[in-house]
């Protein structure tokens, strides 16, 4: 039956034409998802740490988006910097200036855009690869799964940071290099998680029913397994973002990021090269690292809360 693409629904009125049955089944499915989302939010609200993380993230996202409005778009220009080099914090420059006399507060806001973008893109890539590998390995099984999981295991034992550094060394210095270096090295954990969940979902009877009705591989994976692993993937993404932001900062600090773009890790590298350590310029070093830590922590808090809402047993134990 071609029309039967959504899950069966007891509420779908009998005796209607096949087409309208399909639409109503779909609307029922959507109503169920809305209910699930509302319930999820009610439980999420109950976790104070998760709410705190969310508030921090929204605040930082707004500041990052509004950076051009707050500071003007020429904050990164080295040639017409507003201050003198390495000024201490003052009324005019609340966080002081860097070695070119640029306003550090403005650079910090601009850096937020880069760090968040790279973190999000890298996490997205990581989770996309991990989900694809995990679902196909769980669905097909057999030798395909064996080979894929051996590769996954192998990536899992490689020291992620060393591999990412190696990749970033080999490729050109750009934002995309950082994104790819993180994405290619960080996916195996997600792949294992998703595979386990896929196996659990595929053992349920309705998958058997869908197969019996002629559902192909794409249909089963896309329509039945994917929606069921999505919540888990969401939690995993949030946790991966914080790791990605940390790795991005690390690569930039080692001088492997795009030298033309100001990011938080890059600011720390600039500070170290400008001799901020030996001259005791803590006001130059402290803010970027603090920003990295706060954002990474906020994502971790959100991820853990999502995890514990989805899996109440985990919520108690972790």
């Amino acid at each position: 039956m071609k029309t039967d693409r959504t899950k069966p629904s007891a509420e779908a009125p009998a005796g209607e034409t096949a087409k309208s049955a399909a639409t109503s089944a779909r609307s029922v499915a959507w109503a169920r998802r809305r209910r699930a989302a509302a319930q999820f939010w009610r439980q999420y609200r109950g976790h104070r740490s998760g709410l705190a993380g969310l508030v921090i993230l929204v605040l930082i996202a707004v500041l990052a988006l509004a950076a051009p409005l707050i500071t003007g778009s020429d904050a990164q220009s080295v040639t017409d910097a507003p201050g003198t080099p390495l000024e201490e914090p003052s009324g005019e420059f609340p966080l002081g200036t860097d070695q070119f006399g640029r306003n550090l507060l403005a650079l910090l806001l601009w850096g937020a855009r880069v760090s968040l973008t790279v973190g999000l893109l890298a996490a997205f890539l990581t989770v996309a690869i991990g989900t694809l590998v995990g679902i196909t390995a769980g669905h097909f099984g057999g030798w395909y799964s064996t080979v894929i999981m051996r590769i996954t295991d192998w990536f899992l034992v490689m020291p992620t940071l060393v591999l990412a550094i190696a990749l970033a060394t080999v490729m050109d210095k750009s934002i995309w290099t950082t994104v790819i270096a993180i994405g290619v090295t960080a996916w195996p954990t997600t792949a294992r998680l998703v595979r386990a969940q896929t196996l659990a979902v595929e053992s349920r009877p309705y998958i058997e029913r869908a197969t019996a009705l002629g559902g192909g591989h794409r249909h089963i994976m896309g329509r039945h397994v994917l929606p069921n692993v999505m919540p888990l993937v969401l939690a995993q993404t949030t946790l991966v973002i914080s790791q990605a932001i940390l790795t991005e900062a690390t690569l930039a600090f080692l001088g492997l990021g795009d030298p033309m773009i100001v990011s938080w890790g890059g600011l720390l590298q600039d500070a170290r090269e400008a001799g901020a350590v030996s001259s005791g310029a803590w006001w130059y070093l402290a803010p970027p690292g603090l920003a990295i830590a706060v954002v990474a922590l906020a994502f971790t808090l959100c991820g853990r809360t999502i995890e514990s809402v989805l899996n109440p047993k985990l919520g108690v134990t972790r």
Partner: protein
């Protein structure tokens, strides 16, 4: 075979146990000695395959670096084409790629990882020179964060939900989110350089001041060791704490604890003599994985503190880029993780006979 199918299911259920435990513990096929030996052989074979794959990766990955290594070596000095040809020959760069590869593998089997471009010394020598410093740093940090993680984790779980637990977890997670190199730099500024009223109390980097011998040397190295170790412990202990906490929480409702209490044991005795030993099992796997990863994770800390270990060497090698040295170090870092994972796989069934029953 009924027992066969149970084993297969157990194998699927166990591996994902402790978070990030890697390929993790899989049960032996049977509890007999010969079964365990077969299991060991399988694990060792797997490790050997992984090591070979790392060798292949490290060779081809770094051949992708654009630029001529000979140019990097001469560093812009005026050299005749004769000299360049001689250098290419010396490092085997004139041979076709596949021949370089077979040479490389053959030599690696005999423990020869090539000659460093920048130091003009065998890579194996450079690595073995730097190894003790890294082992000292990561070993000290490992012992400390393991003890702190297990102690705080078990206390947190025992009083879970109370203020102490929430504070412990939040504090550990916060430090876990901090970039290690940044924490290191801050510690140097505050405690080594000194700001405001705080005097500089610690050396800013390196492993020794020189000119000391005997007991004075030990004290001097320990003095240099304090800040790097604090940095590593601070960013690493959260992992152990969280796993210890969750595995102890899993044990909390168990009947044997009720029995222990019914016998009239004090609360502390129930915790340290009954609950914690059982909860330690999943943590053990994590410990080995941690140890392997800490060696690689120390790259940043060693760079920041100019510690003369493998991580600092890696950073120096990357900036040239010194291909043979980078390759060799990459292999050592990956091998450390693989060996530790294999060790965990081998020990786990001995510690927990339930695995694979």
């Amino acid at each position: 075979m009924a027992s066969e199918s149970t084993t297969a299911r157990d194998q699927d259920a166990v591996p994902d146990g402790p978070a990030e435990a890697g390929p993790s513990a899989r049960g032996p096929r049977s509890r007999s000695t010969s079964g365990y030996l077969r299991y060991v052989a399988g694990k060792l074979a797997g490790a050997a395959v992984s090591l070979f794959a790392v060798l292949v990766t490290s060779f081809f990955l770094f051949r992708l670096i654009p630029g001529d290594p000979v140019k990097a070596m001469t560093g812009g000095r005026q050299v005749s084409s004769e000299q360049i040809r001689a250098m290419r020959e010396e490092f085997g760069l004139d041979l076709p790629m596949w021949q370089q590869f077979t040479d490389y593998c053959g030599k690696a089997l005999t423990g020869d990882l090539g000659t460093s471009y920048q130091f003009k010394a065998p890579v194996v020598d450079k690595i073995s020179e730097a190894l003790p410093a890294t082992l000292l740093l990561t070993g000290t940090a490992f012992v400390l964060y393991t003890l702190i993680g297990i102690w705080l984790g078990s206390r947190s779980a025992w009083r879970h939900g109370r203020f102490g637990d929430r504070f412990n977890t939040a504090f550990a997670l916060t430090l876990y989110s901090v970039p290690s190199f940044w924490l290191g730099l801050l510690l140097i500024i505050v405690l080594s350089v000194g700001i405001g009223p705080i005097p500089g109390m610690f050396p800013t980097g390196g492993m020794e001041s020189g000119g000391e011998s005997g007991f004075g040397y030990v004290i001097d190295v320990a003095h240099h060791l304090i800040l790097p170790v604090i940095t590593l412990v601070a960013v690493e202990y959260a992992r152990t704490l969280l796993v210890m906490r969750s595995s102890l929480l899993d044990e909390m409702g168990s009947d044997y604890l009720t029995t222990a209490r019914a016998k009239g044991l004090r609360d502390d005795e129930v915790r340290t003599k009954h609950a914690v030993p059982n909860a330690l099992l999943p943590t053990v796997t994590l410990l080995f994985v941690n140890l392997g990863n800490t060696v690689a994770g120390a790259i940043l800390v060693e760079t920041v503190f100019s510690w003369p270990g493998l991580g600092g060497l890696f950073y120096q090698a990357l900036s040239v880029p010194d291909l043979p040295l980078v390759q060799g170090l990459f292999f050592v870092f990956a091998a450390a993780v693989i060996l530790m994972n294999t060790l965990a796989d081998l020990i786990y069934p001995l510690l927990d006979p339930r695995v694979g029953r």
